[in-house]
Symmetry: C2
Subunit: 199 residues, 2 copies
């Protein structure tokens, strides 16, 4: 067996300097991916992190893996939000679902680096987040099921529509001079999710 793809997840703890470098590389990637320049290079990330390029490749097998780690961490935070919505008994089921969508969208709107990774990392970047994606769908399924049971959600809405909505809204965030607002985009979608009053 070769080294794990993401040393962060390996069984034995990393040496102190390696752990520090790992965090510095991720922090540098977040700073640079969030910037204006769409052509961020691994050498830039290494320089910003204060390490050699080889060290970046020791921690992340390729550029997509570095982006994939940002995606993975973001879905982990999404899942925390979905669990909070499931655990909050004070909200009606539809409000819990739509509120979780909005909270996740707001977090993503503030995180240009992860949007960069999500939009530009290719399919393989999502592969690194497979476990978190499966958990995301599972939690979505529970929230959607409750909202169906309460009759507030349109009958044909499925848990797959939760990531679909996040993907669509994410694509419209942070476009310069586009002239639109992502939160109104989400308003349209959430209103479209409601069960028809007469049905």
């Amino acid at each position: 067996m070769s080294a794990p793809a993401i040393p962060d997840q390996q069984l034995r703890p990393m040496r102190a300097d390696a752990r520090r470098n790992h965090e510095r590389i991720l922090a540098a990637a977040r700073e640079l991916f969030a910037g204006e320049d769409p052509g961020v290079q691994i050498a830039d990330v290494a320089a910003r992190a204060g390490v050699g390029v080889g060290t970046v490749y020791r921690h992340f097998p390729d550029k997509e893996a570095l982006m994939g780690e940002l995606v993975r961490e973001r879905f982990s935070i999404f899942n925390t939000q979905l669990r909070a919505a499931l655990g909050d008994a004070s909200q009606a089921p539809f409000a819990a679902l739509s509120g979780a969508l909005r909270a996740n969208a707001e977090a993503l709107a503030d995180d240009a680096a992860t949007r960069y990774a999500m939009m530009g990392g290719g399919e393989r970047a999502y592969g690194y987040a497979a476990a978190e994606l499966a958990e995301f769908l599972s939690l979505s399924r529970e929230l959607v099921g409750r909202a169906h049971a309460s009759g507030e959600l349109r009958p044909d809405f499925s848990e797959q529509d939760v990531p679909m909505i996040m993907c669509g809204v994410c694509a419209t965030m942070g476009k310069r001079d586009a002239g639109w607002e992502w939160d109104r985009h989400l308003d349209l979608l959430i209103d479209g999710m409601r069960a028809l009053p007469g049905a």
Copy 2:
């Protein structure tokens, strides 16, 4: 003055062989961009078109310009569709707007190459389509205005929301194993666009 960015639009007509090469390059790009491989190279496009790489660069100043031309042609077709919707007196205004959205989305769903150009061409690719984008917004404004006048459209909907919706739906098309359907995405948005019955 240097040569125009897109020879297709220059004042004097191209020589017959140049025109044929121009079309062959675009056809090759469409075929390759629509394929599975996300890393299409200019050398691949040139080989498929049966020309040298220098010929590709003679017709398109860089890779983004080649993608931009696909975006430009697509918005030109979008505009034809919007004009048809405006000219069809048999439809109610909301149906004309939502029908045009759906027709354009269906066309885009069948055109993976242009989706590739739209998602991966960067902001500059849209610069090549500036005139068509302005026309798209102008036509959208008229369709949206009519639907507001008839009271069927939610009051805060603006013409900027038309490209926003197209962008969001486009981002969810053609994802392998994503488990969702773009046409249901559009259903949600169109239902969210309706004015509230009680308002």
